[in-house]
């Protein structure tokens, strides 16, 4: 498969801040690729490097085999959906969507036609003559998407596009974006700080921290086999067990990840299954979350959380409770220093 975007040891520093630090990365053609990380981790700068708003200080960037350094944004077949949507306030929705085609010198009739099609694709038919200020946040987001897609870019960049939407709308847009990407077959590079969003939408994702890529992989790989304490705690929630504790409880002498949903809470009067490991502690906190309840135990210095079906009954703080898990639920990450 062709490589859509290639980063080779790319660095971008702002003064003493290493926004992007020696990043190497391949995004395949047609892939829905997510860049996930906390704010300031360099994911947005990477996106801006692809768009051409930033130039790398070191390293090499290729977009579909062509060198990208020194190429201004307006010569790249890449389009961006901006975090604040960046719709032109002095133009109608139709003019906004047709902007790229107008710049390319398409005749008015055909660019209006294609703008109409693009707006239909994002379910905004009939909105051509409105002003961006008359639209809701979700509608603006769709216009921004149509404005980018109408140019048929080789790569579509999305900078936290769902960040400003409320939860319900966000979930709906996640599905729509995903199916839209399948429909148009364009490579999507998607920046987000929301791990749920990244897991739900992407084919592959890269986890960023402090300007570097910590891990790249399919969502299930990254979730099931985090390679570091940072990934384990940033992607989903996890119990990060210190090496000694892990060694004593069915694992190896490594920092070890144990996902809360892999833990079972021992019911009254039952005993731990023979092939499993258990630990007993006092309940420190109980969070009722509808279908499941998060139970946190104090085990000496350590805190461990398990997800129990709420149907199991209620837990009281200070109550003595036993967690148990199969050995294969433990995932070793970093060795003990």
């Amino acid at each position: 498969m062709t490589t859509a975007v290639r980063f080779q040891n790319v660095s971008r520093h702002f003064g003493t801040i290493r926004a992007v630090d020696d990043v190497t990365l391949d995004v395949a053609e047609g892939e829905f690729f997510a860049m996930l990380g906390p704010s300031g981790s360099g994911k947005t700068t990477c996106l801006r490097l692809i768009a051409g708003f930033e130039q790398p200080d070191k390293g090499h960037i290729e977009i579909f085999g062509e060198t990208a350094e020194g190429v201004p944004p307006y010569r790249r077949s890449v389009n961006t959906v901006f975090q604040d949507y960046a719709l032109f306030p002095h133009m109608t929705v139709g003019e906004n969507v047709a902007y790229g085609l107008m710049i390319r010198g398409l005749p008015k009739a055909s660019r209006e036609e294609r703008a109409r099609e693009a707006l239909a694709m994002v379910k905004l038919s009939g909105f051509e003559d409105r002003r961006p200020s008359q639209l809701s946040g979700g509608q603006r987001q769709r216009v921004a998407l149509a404005r980018a897609l109408v140019n048929e870019p080789k790569v579509l960049l999305l900078d936290e596009p769902l960040g400003a939407l409320d939860l319900k709308l966000r979930e709906q847009m996640q599905e729509e974006l995903k199916s839209l990407q399948k429909e148009v077959g364009i490579t999507f590079v998607f920046v987000t700080h929301d791990q749920g969003e990244a897991l739900a939408m992407s084919d592959r994702l890269a986890i960023f921290n402090e300007g570097r890529i910590v891990q790249v992989g399919r969502p299930s790989e990254v979730y099931e086999q985090p390679n570091s304490r940072f990934v384990a705690s940033f992607v989903g929630s996890s119990n990060v067990l210190p090496p000694d504790f892990a060694y004593e409880h069915g694992g190896s002498l490594n920092w070890t990840s144990l996902r809360p949903e892999k833990i079972t809470i021992l019911k009254n009067g039952q005993s731990t299954p023979p092939d499993q490991v258990s630990v007993t502690g006092k309940v420190a906190a109980v969070h009722y979350q509808g279908s499941q309840t998060r139970v946190t135990l104090n085990i000496g210095e350590l805190r461990m959380t398990a997800h129990a079906p709420s149907a199991m009954g209620t837990f009281v703080e200070g109550q003595s409770v036993t967690f148990h898990w199969p050995r294969e639920a433990l995932h070793a990450m970093e060795p003990k220093q």
Binding site: G52, T80, A86, H90, Y99, I103, A148
Partner: protein
Amino acid sequence: MTAAALASRAPSPGVSSRASDILFRHRWLLLALLLAPPLLWIGIVYVGSLLALLLNSFYGLDEFSGLVKYEFTLSTYAQLFQRANFDIIVRSILMAAAVTIASAIIAFPIAYYAARYARGKWKAFFYLAVMMPLWSSYLVKVYAWKLILAKEGIVTWLAEITKTSWLLNSVLGLPVIGGPSLSISYIGMFLVFVYVWLPYMILPTQAALERVPGSLIEASADLGANPAQAFRTVILPLALPGLIAGSIFTFSLTMGDYIIPQIVGTSRYFIGQAVYAQQGTAGNIPLAAAFTVVPIVIMGIYLWVAKRMGAFDAL
């Protein structure tokens, strides 16, 4: 007795806190108190005198006595179209238009830099540099320019030592706008006008550009617009309300000024001077009023056209 009894029950509220309570319960009262002085000012002193002016322009002068005749007539306006008066109007409009266009061209890059790139102390420096000329006396500035532009002044001297006197002389030799020296020519007047009114163009333009999010400019580049196209399709249309606000200042200030044409310039009148002369020595208040209406009408038409062309769509 009762007052003392009340006071003993609760700590006596001060006058100001009692006033606050009243204002809290009657919100319109606060609004009325805040708005009354400016409304009275604008309503009576400003609009009132403007209406009085308008009214005066519809009176005429009695041909024999030379006194104002308080009867409705359009003859005063007809006088504006007499050759001498009409020349004054055309001259003023051309000068105001030239000053406005030049100010806009000079102001835009300065405003753009200040809005997009200047940060921290450079921004403070920008504001100081733009505002400082406004702090000194207008007359001092105009006389300073008179000295700069005079025949024995700095410009002539500079032209001599740089051996470019020929250039200066050929500029002064231009018909109409030239003259014996820069200080007695339309070019000189134009330069002084641009200098004096430039801040009024820079500040609103800068304010308009400041409101344009950087992402819009990035978006236009992202969608394929090179810098020139981005300027034409995004930056300029969004800065236009600011440029128009600035042009209202530079245009009407130039139209109304009667000091610069008097100090730097030829003996030919501009509207401001005509108004000054008509209401003063000539005692022809109606004609002075009619002259004053001209800039008002022109600004009205200008704004109407600008609005029709969509200049304020970005607001």
